[in-house]
Structure formats: structure tokens, C-alpha cells
């Protein structure tokens, strides 16, 4: 048999091996938003908890760049993220929350336990704004500039070492 006859078999084995490898090692991918550098859509959400106002697009326009934090009281990584949001608030950053599919009493309970970094929280009971801005899960945090444009997306909980990076981005988009 000439060696050239083994090329198709070798190719087949290579692709079968590759497919097997990807099946075993495939990761659950995070889905980036394609709304970066586009205007934040028009929205108006009712308050998610007693004592804090709801949120709308108008709240992001003017003043300093702000953070839009998509979160929920039922989301575990959001608990891990709470101290970092607190730290950003200490640095003078305004954080506006969007509570996904949440109940007012649960939101209040979460804020009592883990602190309140928010100036406003809008209630997004059917994930409408979440889908509008291309967020695929909770928590996600968006940097919104003073013109109301989405400038950056942070997927997953904000870790301690993400705080300086976010502060830098907030400074850069001023």
C-alpha cells in the first residue's frame, strides 16, 4: 500500500480526535454584548424596593459616567460582588441597579444583609432591559458615559482587582 492512501484516514482520525477533545473540554462561554459604544436604549423601570427610586435612561445622562449593575437578590455571585460595589461607591461612583426578576422584600433583605451601593434600583421583572442591552446573565456591570452611551461591559461578579480597572475606565470615558 502506498503511504498516500493513509492520508484520508489520518485526516479523519485528526478531526474525530479534535471533535472529541472539544466535546470534553468545551467551556460554557460567556456571551459578550454587542451594544458597546451604542446608546443605552430608552427605558423606564419602576422602583424595585421601598425607599429607593426606580431607574430610567434619563438618570444616566449628564454629570459623571455611571455604572449600571444588572443583578438579583437570588444571585449568589452578587453577594460576592457587594463589597466591590461598596468600594466603588466610596470612590464616588454612582451605581444604578437593575434588579432582574426580583421581589421588593427580597431586594430589601439583600440590601440589609450586604449593604446598599445603589442610588436607584429599577425592577426588571421580565428581563426586558437585560435583553435590550445584550446582557446574558447576572451579575453584569456596564459603564455608561455622561452622554448615555454604553462604553464597557463587565461579565460576572466584580472582583477586588477589577475595581481599579473599572475606576480607570470610568475616568477614561469622561
Amino acid at each position: 500500500m502506498r503511504p498516500v492512501f493513509f492520508i484520508p484516514l489520518a485526516l479523519f482520525l485528526f478531526f474525530a480526535g479534535l471533535a472529541g477533545y472539544m466535546l470534553v473540554n468545551g467551556r460554557f462561554e460567556s456571551v459578550p454584548s454587542h451594544m458597546i459604544d451604542k446608546p443605552l436604549p430608552e427605558f423606564s423601570l419602576p422602583p424595585a424596593v421601598d425607599g429607593l427610586p426606580g431607574a430610567s435612561r434619563a438618570n444616566f445622562v449628564g454629570g459623571e459616567p455611571k455604572l449600571l449593575n444588572v443583578w438579583a437578590s437570588w444571585c449568589l455571585p452578587c453577594i460576592a460582588e457587594a463589597p466591590q460595589l461598596e468600594a466603588l461607591k466610596e470612590e464616588g461612583v454612582e451605581v444604578i441597579g437593575i434588579a432582574i426578576r426580583d421581589k421588593p422584600e427580597d431586594v430589601a433583605d439583600f440590601l440589609n444583609r450586604y449593604g446598599n451601593p445603589y442610588t436607584r434600583i429599577g425592577a426588571d421583572d421580565i428581563s426586558q432591559l437585560q435583553i435590550e442591552i445584550g446582557a446574558a446573565g447576572v451579575p453584569e456591570t456596564f459603564v455608561i458615559d455622561a452622554q448615555g452611551n454604553i462604553r464597557h461591559q463587565h461579565i460576572g461578579d466584580i472582583r477586588a482587582d477589577d475595581v481599579p480597572r473599572l475606576l480607570q475606565i470610568l475616568e477614561d470615558v469622561r
Binding site: E29, S33, M35, W74, R101, K103, D125, S127, Q128, I131
Partner: protein, 139 residues
């Protein structure tokens, strides 16, 4: 005794709930009244990816977010939008990734080009062999 206790403990353990307790969006599990519109919506929903459960279509998933996406699709169909407009609206937000409908793009064109190329090679090899055999037969 310890074994019994362990079994009892295993039974009372509730799975860690990492999902909300809110009711689903109005059109998450409710079909549109007009069967023609519902058929349109269903066809579209079976080709949109659930982002929380990435190997399922939003039509196949009970994830709350899939329900919320179905609500968006049905509401927009009811408002008279065409399925392809709604697909484009979602692709604007999540990229091609959200759609299961294959599209030719700068990254996917080899998928479409390679089979054509391979068939051409196979045809070429086949014709050459047949030609050779015919020559040998004639000789």
C-alpha cells in the same frame, strides 16, 4: 442509626436555589391566539439560542431568561414584526451566537466552501481515473 440520620438529612436538603421565584413573563408559556402568528413565533424561537443553557433553543428551555426571550419574540410578532427582523434585533444585541440559523460570514465561509472544494477534487480524481482506465482498455 447514623446511616438513617444521613438518609434523613439527604432527604430534607433542598437543592440550592439560584433562580428567582417570580412568575413567568405573560407570553413565556402562553401561545398567541392567532395560530398563524404562533406558528411564525415557534419557528423563530426554535432557531434562537438560550443564553443561560447554551445548547438549547429558547423554545426547549425552562430557564427564566428563555421564557423572557419567548415573551419578547411573541410580543414583537403580535406587534406585526417579521421573524427575520426580530432575529436581527437579537443579533444586534448578542451577535450571531444567539442565532442557530447558519449564516455565511467572514468566519464561517470555509464551512460552506470546503465541501464544494472537496467535491470538485473528488470529481477531478474520478474523471482522471476513468479516463486512464478507458485508455488502458483501448490499448
Amino acid at each position: 442509626m447514623i446511616r438513617l440520620l444521613l438518609i434523613a438529612l439527604a432527604l430534607v436538603t433542598a437543592p440550592l436555589s439560584a433562580q428567582d421565584t417570580m412568575p413567568p413573563a405573560p407570553y413565556a408559556y402562553t401561545q398567541l391566539e392567532d395560530p398563524a402568528l404562533e406558528a411564525k413565533a415557534t419557528e423563530l424561537m426554535s432557531t434562537l439560542r438560550c443564553l443561560k443553557c447554551q445548547s438549547q433553543a429558547i423554545n426547549d428551555s425552562d430557564a427564566p431568561m428563555a421564557g423572557d426571550m419567548r415573551h419578547q419574540v411573541r410580543t414583537k410578532i403580535l406587534a406585526g414584526e417579521e421573524p427575520e427582523e426580530i432575529r436581527a434585533w437579537l443579533i444586534d444585541r448578542y451577535g450571531d451566537y444567539v442565532s442557530y440559523q447558519p449564516a455565511v460570514s467572514s468566519t464561517t465561509w470555509p464551512l460552506f466552501a470546503i465541501p464544494v472544494f472537496l467535491i470538485l477534487i473528488a470529481l477531478f480524481v474520478l474523471l482522471r481515473r476513468l479516463g486512464k482506465r478507458r485508455q488502458e482498455g483501448a490499448a
